[in-house]
């Protein structure tokens, strides 16, 4: 805005100078107005950019503002949940017969609970866990063989009831023998259930 005003004043000043400081005559006034209006106006984008002009900041200040805006954006849109899975809650899932516990009253402030899955198979070459929590993607949560025939992985889960199964060697779907079974009216292949909540 300042630039635009400066340009206008300069044009007026230049025109008045040309009139050699004589008393304004109607023709001179008309010429003045014509000169001013005939001058090219700043483009829309130029004016838009002028409107966005801010006080200059140091590089550090600019970085801090950008980082804050990014964080506020992520948190406010739920892309990042404060404290999610940050607390090393002792997790015990189907492996021990106990059930991990953690909960917040409101869905928006849910904290994830690390939940351990354990599967025993001496013959398996690979085992993974699938469930609603990973859209039943076979390759997403591979389990690690921790000793002969014992496979495990720990997955941060939202509090609630989760249905899951193990996939052995990439194709064979197996329910967890240590956990309650879930029915499956849709596909006829029952899985297992884990209740996740905060203690």
């Amino acid at each position: 805005m300042t630039d635009e005003r400066d340009q206008l004043i300069n044009r007026v000043r230049s025109t008045l100078r040309d009139e050699r400081r004589v008393a304004p005559q109607p023709q001179a006034v008309a010429r003045l107005l014509q000169t001013v209006w005939a001058s090219p106006r700043p483009s829309f984008w130029r004016r838009a950019l002028d409107a966005w002009r801010l006080p200059a900041l140091s590089g550090l200040g600019a970085s801090a503002i950008a980082a804050a805006a990014l964080m506020i954006g992520f948190v406010s849109r739920g892309a990042v949940t404060p404290n999610s899975a940050s607390e090393p809650t002792v997790a015990s899932g189907p492996a021990t017969g106990e059930f991990p516990v953690q909960l917040a009253a409101d869905d928006a402030t849910v904290r994830l609970v690390p939940t351990q899955f354990v599967f025993e198979s001496a013959e398996a070459k690979s085992v993974s866990v699938v469930g609603e929590f990973n859209d039943w993607e076979v390759d997403e949560l591979p389990m690690t063989r921790v000793r002969d025939g014992v496979w495990t992985t720990t997955v941060p889960l939202a509090p609630g009831r989760h249905v899951y199964a193990f996939v052995v060697d990439g194709t064979l779907l197996v329910a967890d023998p240590r956990a309650p079974k879930s029915g499956d009216a849709d596909y006829g292949r029952e899985g297992s259930v884990v209740m996740v909540f905060a203690r």
Binding site: A62, V101, V130, G160, F197
Partner: protein, 221 residues
């Protein structure tokens, strides 16, 4: 770089930083993700069903998971389609029963409850047992699990709503559900396990009169 350009660049950076998370989230939730269904006709039909559900405000993620579950379980295309359609119907029913503004988690929990045979009116009863705005996702999950373990739905509902009205938190209620699971695994009947565990939690809660006094009151006339 002069101050004007630096300021303009800074403004653009701040705007981008604010908008980026929105754009990423929109990308994650808008439109239907590519489904790994081999049969093209089934894939298109399921995609259409999911798009329809999205336009009605239903949680798309649950439907995508249901379709993908069918793929992992090597189900026939027609069966996957039927499962997704059926879940969309249950989600819509749950949304209506849990009105006025159920969260995605509540709708999914409600749909799961309906799937195991919880009668529809019970969802309304669960909703009304907690103050508006407090999530009933966990009580619904526990109700589902109890019914799935063989507790008659009416018994399970009575115990859970009683706990909720007495001021039991979702954590208390989840604790009851988990304890019942363990008890049943140890050989107790589901009904007996529920009664014992609900009574145990109830003994820790304030008396009904005190709970009523503590309960949030509605706006004054």
């Amino acid at each position: 770089m002069n101050k004007t350009r630096a300021s303009v660049l800074l403004a653009a950076l701040v705007m981008s930083a604010s908008v980026l998370p929105v754009a990423l989230k929109a990308q994650a939730h808008s439109g239907t993700p590519v489904l790994a269904i081999a049969d093209a006709r089934t894939r298109e039909a399921v995609t259409r069903e999911i798009d329809r559900a999205a336009s009605r405000g239903l949680p798309v993620r649950a439907l995508v998971a249901k379709a993908q579950e069918g793929v992992t379980k090597q189900a026939a295309g027609e069966r996957i389609r039927a499962a997704v359609t059926s879940l969309a119907r249950r989600l819509e029913q749950a949304r209506d029963l849990l009105a006025p503004s159920p969260s995605d988690a509540e709708m999914i929990a409600g749909a799961d409850a309906l799937a195991v045979g919880v009668p529809a009116p019970m969802l309304r009863q669960i909703r009304s047992a907690y103050p508006a705005g407090q999530s009933v996702a966990m009580p619904l999950d526990v109700l589902t699990e109890l019914v799935a373990r063989g507790v008659p739905a009416s018994n399970a509902l009575e115990q859970i709503t009683q706990l909720m009205r007495r001021g039991a938190t979702p954590t208390h209620i989840a604790g009851v559900g988990a304890s019942v699971q363990s008890d049943v695994a140890a050989g107790l009947t589901p009904d007996a396990a529920l009664e014992v565990r609900a009574r145990g939690v109830m003994s820790l809660l304030p008396s009904p009169a005190a709970a009523a006094a503590l309960a949030p009151r509605g706006p004054r006339p």
